[in-house]
């Protein structure tokens, strides 16, 4: 569980805060989506939750404990992140990348134990990528990398999982595949799942709760249908949209 209380953040030497008094709660077994335009502070919010950037005001509680009081490895045991797509400098095998998720559980002078390897293998099986184990991470597709990073999150055995734009760089089919998979895993294991998305349609389809972020401030939070409205989208994106309903499904279409 993540509780963010009155969180404000600004970069050193810059007056304009990136986050202003952000306040919300993300619960286990739920998918909480953060929606907002580029530069609205989504990634910053994730970095504050991970304790990579320290906020000057407000607090983040990870399973009831302030992350200010937690050590790096303790935070990592509670919250895992799938970062945005990137390329490592060396062609590690898929298995080696997933095994990195165990580092918070392994001592400073130790190597991963048999149990750590088993956990990594299990995570691969859960995601269904065990046949990729020996392939170089640098030579697989964007969608496959996303799955590898999600498996690494599972190997980390954290109760909170953050996904930073999991659908960026993915084609239409892979977007749906990745989101369906993480959602079902989160439900199954009672994980607290938070992700940032750009597409309000996907947010509508996959979230239990939506946070709408604009210029560092939370404009709205709650059920997807309450938050993703014509008025709110106009306010945040400055776009006129139309809601189309068919067979109980709702589609958001920008007016062009």
């Amino acid at each position: 569980m993540i509780e963010v209380k009155g969180l404000s953040f600004s970069h050193k030497g810059e007056g304009n805060p990136v986050l202003k008094g952000v306040d919300f709660k993300a619960s286990p077994g739920e998918v909480t989506t953060i929606l907002g335009p580029n530069g609205s502070g989504k990634t910053t919010l994730f970095k504050c939750i991970l304790g990579i950037w320290r906020s000057e005001e407000g607090d983040v509680l990870l399973n009831g404990r302030s992350i200010r009081t937690l050590k790096r490895a303790e935070i990592a045991k509670g919250v895992a992140v799938v970062p945005q797509d990137h390329e490592p400098p060396f062609p590690y095998s898929v298995f080696d990348v997933i095994l990195m998720g165990r580092i918070a559980h392994v001592g400073l002078f130790a190597s991963p134990s048999q149990r750590d390897k088993e956990v990594a293998h299990k995570a691969m099986n859960t995601i269904g990528i065990e046949d990729m184990a020996e392939r170089p991470y640098t030579r697989i597709s964007g969608g496959e990398r996303q799955l590898v990073l999600i498996a690494r999150c599972l190997a980390q055995e954290a109760s909170v999982m953050l996904l930073d734009e999991p659908t960026a760089h993915l084609d239409f089919k892979n977007q749906i595949m990745v989101l369906t998979k993480v959602r079902s895993i989160a439900k199954e294991r009672g994980l607290t799942l938070m992700m940032t998305l750009h597409d309000p349609n996907l947010a509508l389809l996959y979230s239990d709760r939506v946070l709408l972020l604009n210029d560092g401030t939370l404009i709205a939070k709650g059920e997807p249908k309450e938050v993703i409205t014509k008025e709110n989208l106009m306010r945040v994106y400055g776009l006129e949209v139309e809601f189309i309903s068919q067979n109980g499904m709702e589609m958001i279409c920008p007016k062009v």
Binding site: P83, P88, F90, P91, Y92, D96, I103, S111
Partner: protein, 333 residues
């Protein structure tokens, strides 16, 4: 030949190369006699005092062991620096650790002989690394070329300081400083072996034990943090240990470049990038390579060529090859 067969071959290569190197040298000792001397030593047999015994046991053997230690230290540091800076183009020589250590040694030899040169070498190679790192870091996350460039700058700076020392020092000491700076094992004896062994073991042990963490560190600072690594603490330990190993190596053999760059690459090409395997195999391969290079240095002409010249002749083209390959495969940015 699969990867599994390669591992023991590389691990045993220093023993193999070292064994052959014992039989080669400027002073001809017949092969059966070398074997007899070694056997008698191992089995505690007395074969009397013959001059060849001293050549093998007190000249060739310590020299081979010392070059193995130095090769191990430079390669282990190379693996470490490439991992923590996520940069395949760096090694102790390029980042200025070697030049810093050399300056430390030079001032000790020239002006303050009371201070053990290993300590000065360690201190200055540490200082050099931090200067390199700070310059490269001034533009945010450390990226590939700025790091290499600031290493070049720091190397040049410490090399200039060494020149000042050379200029000021009395001519008797000058000869030894100049010769030692070229990188050579010609002054090896059991004393230098024991001195180097302490520093190199102390430096290489944490590098070996913490090697798996390099996998996560090389994914980038923020990602490593998110995975639960205390990046500042780990980086400090890694750099300090590498500087300790390099300082000890430089203090006994001068500046020997490129080994820390070439060996990790060749090993990585053979067994892949996982540091759990890369570190011990690079240590072994570095030791074997250095024995090989030094055997070449003392046998291919009637002089004892400084081994640093041989490693540079092979290393510089290798660096160019890596830069071209890097541009093609666009590693990191």
């Amino acid at each position: 030949m699969g990867r599994i067969a390669v591992v023991p071959v590389i691990l045993l290569s220093p023993l193999f190369v070292g064994g052959i190197a014992l039989f080669l040298g400027a002073y001809h000792v017949s092969s059966p006699l070398v074997a007899k001397i070694m056997l008698s030593k191992i089995l505690f047999m007395d074969i009397g005092d013959i001059p060849e015994k001293s050549i093998i046991l007190n000249i060739r053997l310590p020299r081979i062991i010392l070059s193995a230690l130095v090769g191990m230290a430079l390669s282990a540091s190379g693996v470490t620096l490439q991992g923590i800076f996520r940069n395949p183009l760096v090694d102790p020589f390029i980042l200025g650790l070697s030049a810093g250590a050399a300056f430390g040694c030079a001032i000790c030899v020239a002006f303050v002989p009371e201070v053990p040169i290993q300590i000065a070498a360690f201190a200055f190679s540490l200082i050099a690394t931090f200067i390199t790192y700070t310059i490269a870091r001034s533009q945010g996350e450390v990226s590939r070329l700025p790091l290499v460039l600031s290493g070049v700058v720091v190397s040049a700076f410490f090399t200039a300081l060494v020149s000042i020392v050379k200029f000021l020092v009395d001519p008797h000491k000058l000869v030894s400083i100049v010769y030692w700076l070229m990188g050579s094992f010609s002054l090896s004896d059991w004393h230098s072996v024991s001195v180097a062994a302490v520093g190199i073991t102390l430096g290489c042990l944490p590098l070996f034990l913490m090697r798996w963490r390099l996998n996560a560190m090389s994914m980038g600072e923020e990602e490593a943090r998110a995975l639960g690594v205390s990046v500042e603490r780990d980086r400090l330990i890694f750099i300090t240990a590498a500087a300790l190993a390099v300082g000890a190596a430089v203090s006994v053999s001068g500046i020997i470049g490129w080994v820390g760059l070439m060996v990790p690459h060749l090993v990585r090409m053979t067994v892949g990038p996982d540091h759990r395997r890369l570190m011990p195999l690079s240590m072994a391969a570095g030791a074997a390579f250095m024995i090989f290079a030094d055997t070449l240095a003392r046998n291919c002409t009637t002089f004892d060529i400084p081994v640093g010249i041989i490693t540079a002749i092979t290393g510089a083209p290798f660096f160019i090859y890596l830069m071209k390959k890097g541009a093609r495969e666009s590693w990191g940015r």
